[in-house]
């Protein structure tokens, strides 16, 4: 596969991981609450990450510490943002929005944030030009996602 398409394929596969993750983590929520499911996922995930890192270190394939710059303190708060996401979305799911509305609005929020973030180079990441083709791609993917999310409500 060409270098050009590798990140492309990885991102698509990453979306597959997300589906599996939601399926598995949801199995905790079936017997409990969204808070419990998220707590278990973060706890078992912490252990899994340590095991993965230890495995890499033992096989001598640990990432060389690419210390270009020290990370700012705020860069450690990704986990906080992720945990709050669970609380917001589990509240929204139990409103009139239901799961489908919550999912659809979440995608809109994510798309809007990422466009602004690239445009202005937020969070210390490179600023990027947004091409018309990117906006077209975004529109097609959001429309397709909307059809899938609401398919069971739309079905005759």
């Amino acid at each position: 596969m060409s270098n050009r398409l590798l990140p492309f394929a990885l991102a698509f596969a990453s979306g597959g991981l997300l589906s599996l993750m939601i399926l598995f983590n949801g199995q905790w929520a079936a017997n409990g609450t969204a808070l419990f499911a998220s707590w278990m996922a973060h706890g078992t995930g912490s252990i899994a990450a340590l095991v993965f890192l230890a495995g890499l270190a033992l096989t001598g394939r640990a990432h060389p510490r690419a210390v270009r710059t020290k990370a700012p303190r705020w860069a450690y708060l990704g986990g906080l943002s992720g945990a709050v996401t669970v609380m917001l979305s589990s509240t929204a799911v139990n409103s009139a929005l239901a799961l489908s509305g919550t999912l659809a609005l979440g995608l809109v929020g994510q798309a809007g944030f990422s466009l602004l973030s690239d445009r202005f180079g937020w969070f210390g990441l490179p600023r990027r030009r947004i091409r018309v083709a990117d906006l077209g791609a975004l529109a097609l993917i959001l429309a397709g996602s909307g059809l899938i999310i609401f398919s069971e409500r739309l079905a005759p």
């Binding site: 990885l10 973060h42 710059t69 860069a75 945990a83 917001l88 398919s151």
Partner: protein
């Protein structure tokens, strides 16, 4: 109605914020290290919330299927891959492709579990997503 609407939109924004923060951290460490911090910090915060509000351990939680235990490990790989991607192809391209992968694999999982309601609408959705992906990768 406004409040849940804001919550649902905000949840999506925070997915992006989280990915950017972890991506920034991965530049100074590694994607897997960023994923470890993401999980440790999230766990500490949720534990604090649970202590304050109580009622964390629900009855019957050990009855969850074995695969529930794998969710955390899958999440570690998901966060690590997102951190690597956002620093390389940008927030928009990462979000767009991850959403595409999530939707299409979701339809595949639904089919595998025998849920075929609205199949034609889902097929139309998958077609739109694939055309969007084709448009996104042109001239890159």
């Amino acid at each position: 109605m406004i409040l849940p609407l804001g919550f649902a939109l905000g949840a999506g924004v925070l997915v992006g914020v989280s990915r950017s923060l972890n991506g920034r951290l991965s530049l100074a460490t590694s994607p897997l290290t960023a994923s470890l911090w993401n999980h440790v910090v999230g766990f500490a915060f949720l534990s604090a919330v649970a202590v304050i509000f109580g009622g964390l351990l629900p009855d019957g939680w050990p009855d969850a299927p074995l695969t529930a235990w794998a969710g955390g490990a899958v999440g570690v790989l998901f966060v690590a891959s997102g951190s690597w991607l956002v620093a390389r192809i940008g927030a928009t391209m990462t979000a767009l492709l991850v959403i595409a992968g999530q939707m299409i694999s979701g339809v595949a999982l639904d089919l595998a579990m025998g849920r075929a309601e609205g199949l034609w609408i889902k097929a139309a959705g998958v077609t739109l997503i694939l055309s969007g992906m084709w448009l996104a990768q042109r001239r890159r």
